[in-house]
Amino acid sequence: MPALLEIVDLAVSFPASDGHGLVRAADGVSLEVPAGTTVGLVGESGSGKTVTALSILRLLDPPAQVTGAVRFAGKNLLELPERELRAVRGNRIAMVFQDPMTSLNPVLTVGEQIAEVVRLHEKRPRRAAWARAVEMLDTVGISSPAERARAYPHELSGGMRQRVMIGMALACKPDLLVADEPTTALDVTIQAQILELLRRLRADMGMSVLLITHDLGVVAETCDLVNVMYAGRIVERAPVARIFATPRHPYTLGLLSSMPDFAGPRRLRAIPGAVPLPGKHPPGCRFADRCERVLDRCRLSEPALEPVPDPADGGLVHLARCINPVPKEALSGPVSAGAPL
């Protein structure tokens, strides 16, 4: 099946804070979202995951510079005239952000805001657009939707505002939803409700999702395919079961091992050091300074994102940017409790 969205060699650069040259926040990022799947883009702060997501719909303003290609429905969104791009935004690709309070207009009722989206994209009359807004609030699980449609954002809880955002994003039945940390600001029981909602809507609407998150638990519960980012690069890509059972990049293994999960008291295997700032990474592999498997060669040239040899699949589905990948049986302890797959 051809990919619904294909990002090819994307780079996002910003002027360096010292005024000299550019730094790349995302560098040579290529990934695909096959139709009907949920693809995760995981990383810590500074990994480049959010700038990658924002680049898809050209939501980054100058001085940010974006190069590469974002192919969607046969077109490169990065080169599309603004008029044509507007037909894609909201209509075919919608986006949900972490903080709905800053994305919602505080002086319009939530019903008006959803109706406006519907009117803009579907040219429906006012009354029909309002009816659709109420219907969407119902779809995203807001009780008494006709009443709540008349509420202003500040009158709703954080969980309800996020439901409104999702309702607005999905009002025009997009083919792709880009969700940037959609549950990070929410409490855990509300997060569970929102993730459940996204699962249900994805199945009902046949939508694809690109989920940007730092939370490996959320990834494990929702994604089919996972991309792990570090210092502007995708360092590992695999189906979700593989990422958790047999991570091959030492950074992915480190991330998993540093999770204080439900295994009880044991010393966490922390990754030493900190994520390098954009433009300040070491030569060669960007993870070399923090890696416990580092070899001299790692510092000479940066490895490519390549299939890791695996007799189980002919080495096609699991990619890592590493010349000394973690052996398959390396993950010990509770995180591997889910193996074998």
Binding site: A192, H214, P260, G264, A270, I271, V335, G338
Partner: protein, 317 residues
């Protein structure tokens, strides 16, 4: 072991005035923390867990109840009498960038407690600060730096060094790792555990993160809308929770294991506002096991074996 607990809260209430109405942020909470113990305090936003932590240190006024620390009743002391005790009880905050004065250098921030309590001056002051920074894993090259020049992880470590400078016996950690990235969070959690063991600290560890609490605490109290609804040794709580809210909380936390995806129904609705709390048990509008009595009568914490539960339905053994 029947020594008196290091800290004992008895029927503590904290109220805030909001839009002319009284809001019970902490509602009749009693708990004890033994010397050397780490008690986890878990709850969602608005549960009152942070306010309770502050009330125990008398950083917010109590509307009712008593707090005893080292056999002294804190609630009976005035600010002046409290001061020597403040050295013995310190706090680490979630947002170190808000808790650290942006105009002070790392050296002065960490030394502030030493200065206030007259513990060290001159060369010794600098030495003590260096030693503290080494213990929390911060390079002393940052001694002259201001908070905004530090990374999030470094700021949080400076916050910890600052709290430890006066050699407290009791430390309240309020979401100390929630703002940190995963790899740095693990470093800071390990360091906190090491420092606790080395200094024989007693800790109240406040967090919304069940994974973190299971990692650090020997015993856990769960709060919902101002009250403790369940309290148990950590492993008992994680393997055999009784209160429907505790169960919902545990079931809602995403498990980092895709082979364990489960079809589960998240608890419906949201936590009510403390301005307008439900009658009876505050969890009853969301509870799958609700019975009539839950709507009218507030359940009290009842001790069952090693645990305590506040639930009309699940107190039968």
């Amino acid at each position: 072991m029947s020594a008196a607990p290091l800290l004992e809260a008895d029927d503590v209430c904290v109220r805030f005035a909001l839009r002319g109405r009284a809001l019970a942020a902490v509602d009749h909470v009693s708990l004890t923390i033994d010397d050397g113990e780490t008690l986890g305090l878990v709850g969602e936003s608005g549960s009152g867990k942070s306010t309770l932590g502050r009330a125990l240190l008398r950083l917010v006024p109590l509307a009712a109840g008593r707090v005893r620390f080292e056999d002294q009743e804190l609630t009976a002391l005035d600010e002046r009498a409290l001061r020597p005790l403040r050295r013995r009880m310190q706090m680490v905050f979630q947002d170190a960038s808000a808790a650290l004065n942006p105009r002070m250098t790392v050296l002065d921030l960490v030394a502030e407690g030493l200065d206030i309590h007259g513990l060290a001056r001159g060369a010794e002051r600098g030495e003590r600060v260096r030693a503290l920074l080494a213990q929390v894993g911060v390079d002393d090259a940052v001694l002259g730096a201001y908070p905004h020049e530090l990374s999030g992880g470094q700021r949080q470590r400076v916050g910890i060094a600052r709290a430890l400078a006066v050699e407290p016996r009791f430390l309240v950690c309020d979401e100390p790792t929630s703002a940190l990235d995963a790899s740095v969070r693990a470093q800071v959690l390990n360091q906190l555990a090491d420092l606790r063991d080395a200094r024989k600290l007693t800790m109240l560890f406040i967090t919304h993160d069940l994974g973190v609490v299971r990692h650090v605490a020997g015993r856990v109290a769960v709060m919902y809308l101002g009250r403790v609804v369940e309290e148990a040794p950590t492993e008992v709580l994680f393997t055999d929770a009784r209160h429907p809210y505790t169960r919902a909380l545990l079931a809602s936390a995403p498990v980092p294991d895709p082979s364990k995806r489960r079809a589960f129904v998240p608890p419906k609705g949201e936590m009510a506002s403390a301005l307008d709390p439900p009658s009876g048990c505050a969890f009853h509008p969301r509870c799958p096991d609700v019975v009539d009595r839950c709507r009218t009568e507030v359940p009290q914490l009842v001790r069952i074996g090693a645990r305590s539960v506040a639930c009309h339905v699940h107190t039968a053994t």
